[in-house]
Each structure stands twice: as C-alpha cells, then as structure tokens.
Symmetry: C2
Subunit: 282 residues, 2 copies
C-alpha cells in the first residue's frame, strides 16, 4: 500500500487540505514523514511552472499520486454540469489542462466537485448526460491519463453521492480510462457498508482518499481503517491511499498522525518511522 497526502499548489479555501502554502517546505515534511507520494490540488495548471514543479518533486523524490481539480469549481464556479454551455466549455478546457499536466506527472486526475451541482430546473438525466459527454471528451484527450470520479456526500453536491449511483453512471460513459475514487469520509455518510462498497467498486477503483469520520486524520474518528486497508489489499488495489484531511490540530500533526495510523493499520513496522513522526509532532 502506498500513501500520499494532499497539498494545494496555491492558497485555497477548501478546508480538507493538510497543506496549503509554502510548497517546498510542505514537500520536505511529507518526505520526512515517510509518505510515498503527494496528491496536488491544482486550481489552474496555467498558474504553475511545470518545470519548476517537476524539479521540486524530483528534489524530494515524491511522485504525484493524483491531481485534484475541485478548486476550479470552488473558487471559480467551473462546472461540467452548469446549464450555461459556455461555463461547461470552460470547465472542460480546464480539465484538459489538468490532464495535460497529469500526463507529464503520470498522475490520475480527480473528478470531484468540478462536476458541479445540479441546479434547480436541470433534470437529473440532463446533468448526467452533460457529465457523460464531458468525461468522454476529456478521457479521449489523452487515453494514458485516468480520470477518477469521486462520489461526494449529499451536503456538497446533489450529483452522484453514492458508489452505487456512480457505478451505474460509469456504465454510461464510453471510456476505459474513467473509474472511481472512493473517499472514506464521504462513504461514512453515504454507504450502508463501507467495506461492501469498496468491494462493489472492484477493478473500477483508481484512487482512495482516507479521512476519518470527522474528516480528521485516520484514527481521530471511528472508521475501521484496518478493515478498509485489508479489503483494498485483498481486492488487489494497487493505487494510493491519499490523506485528504483537515489540517487539525495543525498541518504537521495531522500529516504525521495520518501516516502513523495508516501504517499501523497495515501492520507495517513503524518504529523508525514513528520516531520521525514524533519528531515532527513535537
């Protein structure tokens, strides 16, 4: 099992991001804590110098597990299901720009909140058709890049909350490089059984977000991460488990506790590592 943690490449208002500023310092800490990679939340790839980014990532020896795209919706309102065709068009263009960066970084692209919310007056089937068309167009832009659709809890969107709904929707999408992202925080609210839903996702599963029931680091709530990681392992899941967590009580403690608990759940030796974690916490 490989572990990564979300870092925003720019200041962001979305709360469940451990690190939001000072990218080099954040990457240094993440590497020191023993993470295998980093997930980057990128509002707009145009604002990034990819050479500089690659240099930084190489410096710390951190691959990129996935690119988060939700800030394009959260900060700019770009939505793949907006009733205004121009907004949908700009959202697709933005996503293609993410895909192009992801291709360079060999990362998955996350389809989270950039799908938007179904607004009043738009039928569910219409919204899903727009989303289907957008995903097919984006998936065709570069078949080597995988797109991971994330079921998100009812409070954050009214479009594709559960694994079942999302799997049903994915069957409409004619593209092999589109699959699922499962987030334990959202699953705790939406899934009757977290483990059964992991099972249902099966080989459509491309990426996993780990956050506890209160969106703190694993171990701070009541989700059974031992069970989750064991089930992923048994399914033959080869991707990352990526901590998308609140920076509480502070970013470094959250990051240190997350990997400490995740490794413990895997039965991984945490001695030397745990010392490194403890050094960061205090």
């Amino acid at each position: 099992m490989r572990f990564s943690i979300v870092v925003s490449t720019q200041p962001a208002s979305f709360s469940a991001v451990a690190y939001k500023e000072r990218l080099p310092e954040s990457l240094a800490t993440i590497k020191r804590l023993g993470y295998d990679g980093v997930e980057l939340a990128v509002r707009d790839p145009e604002l990034i110098n990819p050479d500089e980014l690659e240099r930084l990532l190489a410096q710390f020896g951190l691959p990129v597990s996935a690119l988060g795209t939700g800030q394009a919706y959260g900060e700019e309102g770009l939505s793949l299901t907006h009733p205004d065709a121009q907004v949908r068009c700009r959202a697709i263009a933005r996503l293609k720009s993410h895909i192009s960066l992801a291709s360079r970084l060999k990362a998955i692209v996350i389809i989270g909140l950039i799908r938007g919310k179904r607004v009043e007056g738009v039928a569910c089937d219409q919204a899903e058709t727009w989303l289907q068309q957008a995903l097919e167009e984006c998936a065709a832009a570069d078949r080597s890049v995988k797109l991971a659709l994330e079921p998100i809890n009812r409070y954050e969107t009214n479009l594709l909350n559960s694994v079942d709904e999302s799997l049903r929707f994915l069957r409409r999408v004619g593209a092999e490089n589109v699959g699922l992202l499962l987030d334990t925080f959202h699953m705790n609210i939406e899934e009757p059984s977290i483990l059964s839903s992991i099972e249902s996702a099966g080989d459509r599963l491309l990426h996993v977000h780990v956050a506890d029931s209160n969106r703190w680091y694993p171990g701070a709530g009541h989700i059974d991460f031992g069970g989750v990681l064991t089930r992923l392992d048994r399914l033959g899941y080869q991707g990352y488990s990526s901590a998308e967590i609140l920076p509480l009580p502070d970013p470094d403690t959250a990051a240190a506790m997350a990997i400490l608990q995740l490794r413990r759940c895997c039965g991984l030796e945490t001695g030397g590592w745990s010392d490194r974690g403890a050094a960061v916490i205090r």
Copy 2:
C-alpha cells in the same frame, strides 16, 4: 426504552421527516406500528388548534415526546443568534410559543436549527452569548418544560456541532431545565466515538434522535444501534428514542422498518409487532 417518530404538523421542506401531511392518517399508522409516542415538528404553534391536536392525540393514545422547532428557522429564518436583534426577539417569542404548547402536551422542546448559523462578522463568543441569553430567557418562561439543545453536524450549522462543545456551552447556561438532544446521524459525522459521547452527555441527556449513518431508518446504514440502545439503557436514560429519518423508500416502510430494527436491537419480542410492520410495508 420508548420509541417515537417525527411527524410534521404542516407541509415542510426539511427532508428528514417521515411524515409531512395528513396528520390523522399518519398518527393512525404510527400507533398501528407500535410506537409509544410521536414527535411533532411545529413551525408555528399559532397555526395549530391545540384542542383539536389534543383530541387527535388522545384518540390514538399517543403522547408527544418532543416538539421540533427547526422549521421556524428553515422556513422563516428565525434564529436565536441572528445579528439583527429584532430577528432574535422574534425567534425567542416563537420559542416561548412552542414552550407554551409543550407545557400543555408535557413534551420536551428541541433547540436544533432555531439557534441559527453564525453569520460572517459575528464572533463565536458573541453568538454563544446571544444563544445563552435566549435559552436562559426561554427556560425561565416555564421551568416545567425541558429544552434540549441538539449538536448538529458541520454542514447544517457552524454553531455547536459536537457533544463536547455543546456540553461546554451548557455549563454557561444558568438553567436546570436545559439539556442535550443527541442525534445518531449527526454523531456519526462529528463524534470520534458515538458511545463515548453518549456517556459524556450522561444525565444532561433529555432526548435522542435515531437515524442511521445515511439518515435512513436504523438498519439501513452502519451505526451499531444495539450498542447505542444498550449504552442508553445502562446510563439509566428514561427518555424517548425518536426516529428523525428520511421518508425512504417511502414513509410507511421507513416508519415500519425503524421500529422493527429498534425493537430487535433491544431484544424485544417483535413477532406480533413485526407482522403489523410487515402489513404496512406490503
């Protein structure tokens, strides 16, 4: 353990209410299913004929476990922590009207969303002070009526989400007849451990809402209701466990499944009852 279920006395937009219309028919079904009482969601007691209501309740032999007040916020924006003193004043007046009806019905009054949300620019301490003053004034209006403050998850309000926060706040409130309502759906999101938080609430606990992790009837999600009800029993809790659940897959099935599962969790004989439940479901 006594069980009740939420019924709205008027059409309502709030989703987690099993029954929203046709009060007599709803009460008849609830009685037939074997509930011990009913919780009434009342936007404005002035719109109710209390004699008629009492007659109906007596006809079905259903006591009222609690009065929900959140629709006054949801539909009319009345909030105990609104920065506009006139709105706070109207919210307090409304709550006193609920208290007067509750006194007649011997019911608890719920302080849920009527506390409002802390709006931008209002300091947390200021909002809590307004809430404290409002609760002290309302509690003094009739000491025989208990007010139950409900911790509500982060997505619905930014004011008092967890049991810990709410207990800390309650220590500021100088009134013996103010306590806590715990809702298992909210607890699943906010509490590191549902059972430990029930324990912490201890004798401040006045009322319990039962809904599963997905807000469906108990048994449709992953909350351990056997553990919850056992813990309540061990604490000596004498109040109701009241189903505040989504009317899914339909109101009657939701209500029937809720009491079936709750009674099973208590180890109560469900044979005859279950037949009655089955008769309603199909």
